[in-house]
């Protein structure tokens, strides 16, 4: 038998099937039990609002935390210090500062030898060595260029 005739007959037979008689009634009953259309929008709105709030909170946390953790987040950059930090070095000798009360000025702890050297430097005790005398005139010896003498070619003359 021709398969195309089979195809048409089978298609017609298996696509012309009707649902059970109470099918439409069951659909109506299920639709009647469904909440109204506007209630389907409420979860969507609630989800969207919750997501927006969560994003907002996350963004504000990020923006609020980043400046606070900025200096520690950049370990390669040294903290900038003004000269005022160096000046109270005289007062920052361990014996002169009370141990239990921290100084309001930021302290730099250095060794005694370094401190003495710095104190001498600021007091002018260390003087840079005088510059070396500069020669008044540069003496340049006279340049002599000797003539080039070619030795005779052994083996006769050219013809």
């Amino acid at each position: 038998m021709d398969p195309m005739i089979d195809l048409d007959r089978e298609l017609a037979r298996s696509t012309q099937v009707d649902p059970s008689p109470d099918f439409t009634a069951r659909v109506r009953a299920r639709i009647a039990n469904e909440p109204p259309a506007w209630q389907w929008r409420v979860p969507g709105l609630a989800i969207a609002m919750t997501a927006a709030i969560a994003i907002g909170v996350a963004a504000s946390n990020l923006l609020g935390l980043l400046p606070a953790s900025g200096p520690t987040a950049t370990p390669g950059v040294l903290e900038r210090r003004s000269l005022n930090v160096v000046v109270p070095l005289r007062a920052s000798v361990p014996a002169m500062t009370p141990p239990d009360r921290p100084s309001p000025v930021q302290r730099i702890v250095i060794s005694k030898s370094e401190m003495l050297a710095l104190q001498q430097l600021f007091a002018g005790a260390i003087v840079a060595p005088p510059p070396a005398p500069i020669a008044d005139e540069l003496s340049i010896s006279e340049l002599v260029i000797e003539a080039i003498v070619m030795p005779p070619i052994p083996g006769g003359e050219r013809q």
Binding site: M1, P3, M4, D6, L7, D8, E10, L11, A12, R13, S14, T15, Q16, V17, D18, P19, S20, F23, T24, R26, V27, R28, R30, I31, E34, P36, A37, W40
Partner: protein
């Protein structure tokens, strides 16, 4: 301020929701069988097809107020039902049972074993078609080979539908000859 009583108005006053419900009810009456047949052509299991068609119609009711072009309702319903049926078929675990059922569902008790076997081969060939060819072929069977109606349901030009039907039939013919 003058109040106009409803009974004096030239047209009856109905709410928008009531109008929508009435329109959907008329659509439901004319399209429920179509949705079932589309689902049945994929699943070939009566109860499963009714469940899927019911889901599609409930979804249609849910989204009916958002549908701008009401004349496209049938096309939308066909596509939704087709997708839901394919999803259902992929997800279900009763494939072997259904393969047996689809032969029984489309044959009558008077059919011989040979007829049932031929129907089984046919549906295997139809199932192996690419999706767009299969949908066009099945819809043409549902609407009685009316090309214009298939084109309307698929929202395609008639020439495209004819081409798809031609390729679908050719592929089925090749497959059935190979089986024999």
């Amino acid at each position: 301020m003058t109040r106009i009583r409803a009974e004096y108005l030239p047209v009856p006053v109905v709410s928008l929701d009531a109008e929508l419900e009435r329109e959907f009810e008329s659509r439901l009456a004319e399209c429920s069988t179509l949705a079932f047949r589309v689902a049945f052509s994929v699943l070939r299991h009566r109860e499963d097809a009714e469940d899927v068609a019911q889901d599609a119609l409930v979804r249609a009711h849910r989204s009916f107020h958002k549908l701008r072009h009401r004349d496209r309702f049938q096309a939308w319903l066909v596509r939704t039902t087709w997708r839901l049926a394919l999803d259902h078929r992929r997800g279900e675990q009763r494939r072997l049972v259904r393969q047996f059922d689809h032969v029984c569902a489309s044959t009558t008790p008077d059919d011989t074993a040979e007829t049932r076997e031929r129907a089984g081969h046919l549906w295997e060939a139809i199932d192996a078609l690419p999706e767009k060819l299969r949908l066009a072929l099945v819809l043409s069977g549902i609407v009685g080979h009316d090309i214009a109606e298939v084109a309307r349901l698929l929202r395609l030009p008639e020439g495209t539908v004819k081409s798809r039907l031609f390729h679908a039939r050719r592929e089925i013919q090749e497959r059935l000859q190979w089986i024999r």
